[in-house]
């Protein structure tokens, strides 16, 4: 038989004409990456790997993930296709999470300081020795005053364990990290509509206004929301307009990037509101029905915020403000998203409210494609639970900031130094203020080194961060892949419950948070006679989770914790379609979200025994449960009066403007020609302080030159790569310049997450500094693969404290600096902050508090306010 002669030419011809047949031929072998996920195989053995569903915790988005385990070792992490929010996708950070477990610099045993604080001399001790020593210190503090025991936590996802621990001790001195995070966004939103965050329905929106959020890279909720942004853009032809001082990746993805002068987003938003109301583009019915102001009142109030006024402040042209206002108001549905851009300023709470007024006045709230309330789920706490401490704490509830419900943690060092509250035992949990806070080393480093102010410091941490290096005792916590934790995060329009579960045995002698805290309590109260042990009656982390989850209605029927152990998340809304990336129902259609949550009607059972007030508020057992509108009993918004408060009367009690408003940063108004504003930002592979030691991420991003505008740099003779000196009122640093058109000319920007001086050999690159020297793994063979020798420069040392007198937020983007070419004595990496200069900044920012002398000057419109003595605020419980 003669074989056909096949040349490359005939081969190609055949291929071109037989495409249909080829397409119809059976395909049984598919590329693995086109499959749904959820399974993985060892490349050598071909055996299926053990898949354990978890919630990721490299950052705080809480993506659904799966850990693939071989031999009790995580070999791969990927997205969980059953998770409704993240739909099988995991970001770069999440893919690298196993580095935390196996980091050669991980702390695996309790360590006791034996040299001077920060000297780096430690002695390994047993858990029993550690617990005995700590219990002794706690006992002594309890005898004096429980509030002298302080807990400061950073990324706390323990699900209530830390509060339980401190309440068991009877201490109210619990301080979080939120004021350096997003507190003024929360405080702007909460009194207005209830929750502290929004869920924009990007996938179905026609128009998005983005004020200062880099959602495609870093902001809440990066992974799930960036998926929806992309869907809206691609499937729905959504338009995105981003206001930002910097051309972030989100700004680059947008239809329009509008660079604004830092700290002026709020003015632009108010001016857009002015245009909408002036041109009668508002949703009058929504305003009249669901807010506490009338359209007439609103129009009157917004008259002052003209585009001309905002343009002068922000640099955004009048016609741009007017055009975008019209586009936003007429493109239905439209939504808005904000993050740090508006909020991280001295009056960030005002800015946030000014922004959120845009979807409110246009009636886009809770609409499909609009500006939606967050959806989350709760879980019960194990019983019995300790009650609240008897006495309040000054540091937890500083009386000068009565509206800052998320605290003002970055001012704590100064208050301790001023003797506002005595501390005997300071405990930190996953919190590294020596790196992450304004003033960083100059402020928190000084505080922790002062044994008079902090007589005993315990760090619960798996890593030798800048804070842990200054501790007296280190208790080795577990990284996230070794912990049990309950989860729920409003990162999509579908609420869910989830868990983190240990995917392998914890390394060394590390213990997860709830076990560690239980063991401390048991050491303090071994027999239960002190009444503490009863609150810590659980065998292990899994037992604790059963007490959370086994009685949640719905989940209980599905199997409780056992369901979560198997799936990682509940409920499972549908099946992920690998072709569309969407979660679908049995018919193949995408599952629908619920909208108009505030318009849910109360049932007869709900109304039984309820009373309707004059204003329509429906109350039951002393609590507002809904609101009557147009003859119907609605659940309304989760505010005290169940409607949206455009006017927040509580703020007026303290002399703040209760209506949407804007305040310029006073020192921005007086900036000289050669002064610039320093802002910070995050890259997609970095979080606050805990990623620089992750090798895969550090290889992607390890240096952080300062962005500076082309025209600004040209004026100073600065080119990319030049060393520059950046000087603020609190100190100076020396770094490299990156000249770009992608930044507002009055701004310079330095990304954070770099320039560590602790956190292990990779973050500090001490292996490169001291090659062949006796420190920090200089000869670790694997680190020879570290080809970079620039670890970056951390900016926080020179950023002075600023506190929003309402929301308590740090004004990260309020720092005025002078930038010059580096001098002969300057060298790369120099960073000098000064305690006294930071202290002076603290004193100055307190002048803007409602008790300060500048408060009234900043609020001439509140001239009738009777002053701070007119307000009966609760005094914090100092020592």
């Amino acid at each position: 038989m003669e074989m056909p002669k096949v040349t490359r030419r005939t081969f190609l011809k055949v291929s071109a004409t037989t495409g249909a047949a080829a397409a119809a031929a059976p395909r049984l072998l598919n590329a693995m990456e086109q499959q749904l996920g959820g399974k993985d195989f060892g490349p050598v053995t071909g055996a299926e790997r053990k898949a354990i569903p978890i919630n990721c915790h490299v950052c705080n988005i809480q993506d659904g993930a799966i850990a693939y385990v071989e031999n009790d070792r995580v070999v791969k992490l990927e997205g969980n296709p059953e998770h409704v929010s993240t739909r099988g996708r995991l970001c770069a950070k999440g893919n690298a999470g196993m580095w935390y477990s196996y980091d050669p610099d991980r702390i695996l045993y309790p360590l006791k300081r034996v040299g001077a604080r920060g000297e780096g001399k430690w002695k390994r001790i047993t858990w029993d020795e550690a617990l005995t020593e700590l219990a002794g210190k706690l006992d002594a503090a309890l005898k004096e005053d429980p509030n002298t025991i302080m807990m400061k936590y950073g990324r706390n996802r323990s699900g209530g364990v830390i509060d339980r621990f401190m309440q068991t001790l009877g201490s109210a001195t619990v301080v979080n990290h939120t004021s350096v995070c997003e507190s003024s966004k929360k405080i702007g939103m909460e009194p207005t509509w209830g929750p502290d965050i929004e869920t924009p329905d990007f996938a179905n929106a026609k128009y998005v206004l983005n004020f200062g959020s880099n959602i495609l890279e870093a902001a809440y909720f990066h992974n799930p929301l960036s998926q929806r942004v992309t869907e809206g853009r691609v499937d729905n032809n959504m338009k995105i307009v981003t206001f930002d001082v910097r051309l972030s990746n989100t700004a680059g993805f947008s239809d329009e990037w509008i660079p604004v002068h830092p700290a002026t987003d709020g003015a632009v938003a108010l001016a857009m509101g002015h245009v909408i109301l002036r041109e009668d583009l508002q949703d009058s019915d929504f305003i009249e029905t669901w807010t506490n102001v009338t359209v007439k009142e609103l129009k009157e109030h917004y008259k002052q915020f003209t585009p001309e006024w905002a343009s002068k402040i922000s640099g955004v042209p009048v016609e741009t403000i007017e055009r975008i206002a019209r586009e936003f108001a007429t493109a239905k549905p439209a939504t808005l998203f904000t993050y740090r851009g508006p909020a991280k300023h001295m009056y960030g709470s005002y800015n946030e409210r000014s922004c959120m007024m845009l979807p409110i006045m246009t009636g886009n709230v809770e609409k499909k494609g609009g500006y939606c309330l967050p959806r989350g789920m709760g879980w019960p706490q194990p019983s019995p639970a300790p009650g609240k401490p008897k006495k309040d704490s000054y540091l937890s509830h500083p009386p000068d900031y009565p509206l800052a419900g998320h605290k003002v943690s970055h001012l704590v060092p100064f208050w301790i130094a001023d003797g506002k509250q005595k501390i005997n035992v300071y405990i930190s949990y996953q919190d590294n203020p020596v790196y992450t806070n304004p003033g960083s080393q100059a402020v928190w480093g000084k505080l922790f080194k002062d044994e008079k102010l902090i007589p005993y410091y315990v760090s619960m941490s798996p890593f030798m961060g800048e804070e842990t290096a200054l501790a007296d005792l280190i208790l080795p916590d577990c990284p996230y892949l070794e912990r049990w934790e309950p989860e729920s995060m409003p990162n999509s329009l579908w609420p869910w419950l989830g868990i983190r579960q240990p995917v392998h045995k914890s390394l060394g002698e590390s213990r997860e948070n709830r076990i560690m805290m239980r063991d401390i309590i048991w050491k303090l109260d071994p027999t239960g006679s002190r009444g503490m042990k009863q609150f810590w009656a659980f065998k292990d982390g899994e037992d604790y989770m059963r007490q959370h989850f086994d009685n949640v209605p719905g989940l209980k029927e599905a199997g409780g914790l056992d369901f979560l152990k198997k799936h990682g998340v509940w409920p499972i809304y549908g099946k992920l379609d690998p072709k569309t990336g969407k979660v679908t129902d049995k018919t193949g259609r995408e599952i629908k979200a619920e909208y108009n949550m505030y318009k849910k009607e109360l049932s007869d059972a709900d109304m039984a025994g309820a009373a309707v007030g004059k204003d329509g508020v429906i109350s039951k057992n002393g609590k507002a449960i809904g609101v009557k509108r147009n003859g119907k009993n609605y659940v309304g918004f989760p505010t005290g009066n169940r409607i949206i408060n455009v006017r927040v009367d509580k703020w007026a009690e303290y002399g703040f403007n209760p209506m949407p408003t804007f305040k310029r940063i006073p020192w921005h108004e007086t900036m000289k020609e050669d002064e610039l504003i320093l802002v910070t930002f995050k890259l997609n592979v970095m979080k606050q302080s805990r990623t620089a030691a992750v090798k895969w991420l550090a290889e992607i991003a390890h240096s952080n030159p300062m962005w500076i505008g082309t025209s600004t740099a040209a004026r100073m003779g600065i080119k990319t790569g030049d060393l520059v000196r950046v000087e603020s009122r609190a100190g100076h640093l020396v770094t490299k310049a990156y000249v770009t058109e992608g930044i507002h000319p009055r701004t310079v920007a330095i990304p954070t997450g770099f320039g560590h001086w602790e956190y292990g050999r990779l973050a500090t690159l001490k292996l490169k500094e001291k090659k062949s020297d006796a420190s920090h793994g200089a000869d670790d063979p694997d680190l020879n693969n570290v080809w970079w020798d620039d670890k970056g420069v951390h900016p926080n040392n020179i950023i002075p404290v600023v506190a929003d007198p309402i929301g308590g937020s740090q004004g990260w983007f309020d720092t005025v600096v002078k930038v010059t070419k580096a001098g002969p004595d300057d060298k790369y990496g120099d960073s000098q902050g000064d305690w006294q200069k930071h202290y002076d900044a603290y004193k100055e920012t307190m002048r803007y508090a409602y008790t300060g002398d500048l408060h009234r000057k900043m609020h001439p419109e509140m001239a009738s306010w009777a002053g701070p003595d007119s307000v009966k605020h609760k005094e914090g419980g100092g020592h």
Binding site: P104, D105, R106, L111, L247, L507, L683, A701, D790
Partner: protein, 298 residues
């Protein structure tokens, strides 16, 4: 005293030339069973000594035994030169100093964990950990925590394992079971080839250099010398992967980007690219696409 402390028999009583084998042969081949058993017990003693030095912070009894005049004399004969910090420091203070030095060197951030996974892969609990665990299990051992919980591929445990095999082998010989002893000999060689031999020589040099206390400096020297001896005596040729790994010089790298370029989330514009002096070995992606090999892939 040293013999008692280290369980070392008097190997000098073995006729010269009978306990030293040539390449590829071990002492067991040439010596009588009794002599070989004695040799194995002696070696086990050294393994136990070294294991005791590295598995955790030394206890008082261990230090007392080591600091007895007879033991010190024998260690000096073996070439160990302790300083006054070991020889003349009061017992309790010495124990405290050694505990601190142990923590700094081996058990806290920035140190040099004596763990094979870390030395060879840069991470805890990687393949060597599981391989050693499997080997221990196969040969009937279970790893239990001592004062602290340690990894299966921790130096002290690996040394302890060989000590156990040597003692088993000695016992087998004494009971006339030469076949069992030969099997154990193979296991020891395999374990050296797959584990100890791949990292302890380089690691001992590192600790010798980095130790601040003469106890660990000298123990590291002892470890290095003993490892070299054992590898030779076992007739093995093993690459020292720790410290033998080459760093690739930057000049040899051919990359698609400039490694000196700031990683800053921005795209390099043409104007900017001229401001950065790219090294000769750097080729930008566009240029590479113009090359024959990559051009076909477009």
């Amino acid at each position: 005293m040293l013999k008692a402390a280290l369980k070392i028999d008097d190997i000098e009583e073995i006729p010269a030339g009978t306990h030293r084998a040539g390449a590829g042969e071990t002492a067991a081949v040439l010596a009588s069973p009794a002599e070989t058993a004695a040799d194995w017990r002696a070696r086990a003693g050294v393994y136990r000594l070294l294991s005791g030095a590295f598995v955790e912070e030394p206890a008082g009894e261990f230090i007392d035994a080591l600091r007895s005049p007879a033991t010190l004399a024998e260690l000096a004969e073996a070439g160990l030169r302790f300083d006054a910090d070991f020889l003349a420091t009061p017992r309790d203070r010495l124990l405290e100093q050694l505990a601190i030095e142990y923590t700094t060197q081996f058990a806290s951030s920035g140190g040099f964990p004596p763990v094979e996974s870390v030395r060879l892969t840069g991470r805890y609990k990687q393949q060597p950990n599981f391989d050693t665990m499997q080997t221990y299990k196969r040969l009937g051992f279970v790893l239990r925590p001592g004062r602290f919980e340690v990894f299966a591929d921790q130096l002290g445990i690996e040394l302890m394992f060989v000590a156990e095999l040597l003692e088993r082998g000695a016992l087998a010989l004494e009971q006339g079971d030469a076949a069992a002893q030969r099997r154990l000999d193979k296991e020891i060689k395999r374990f050296w080839s797959q584990h100890l031999g791949r990292w302890v020589r380089g690691y001992s040099r590192l600790i010798e250099r980095t130790a601040e206390h003469s106890f660990y400096r000298e123990m590291a020297r002892f470890l290095g010398g003993f490892a070299a001896e054992e590898i030779e005596a076992l007739g093995l040729r093993i690459e020292d992967a720790d410290q033998a790994r080459l760093e690739v010089p930057k000049s040899d790298l051919r990359v698609e980007f400039n490694p000196n370029e700031p990683v800053c989330n921005g795209c390099m514009t043409d104007a900017l690219s001229t401001t950065l002096a790219a090294p000769d070995n750097v080729r930008r992606l566009e240029e590479m696409r113009g090359l024959g090999t990559l051009g076909d892939l477009r």
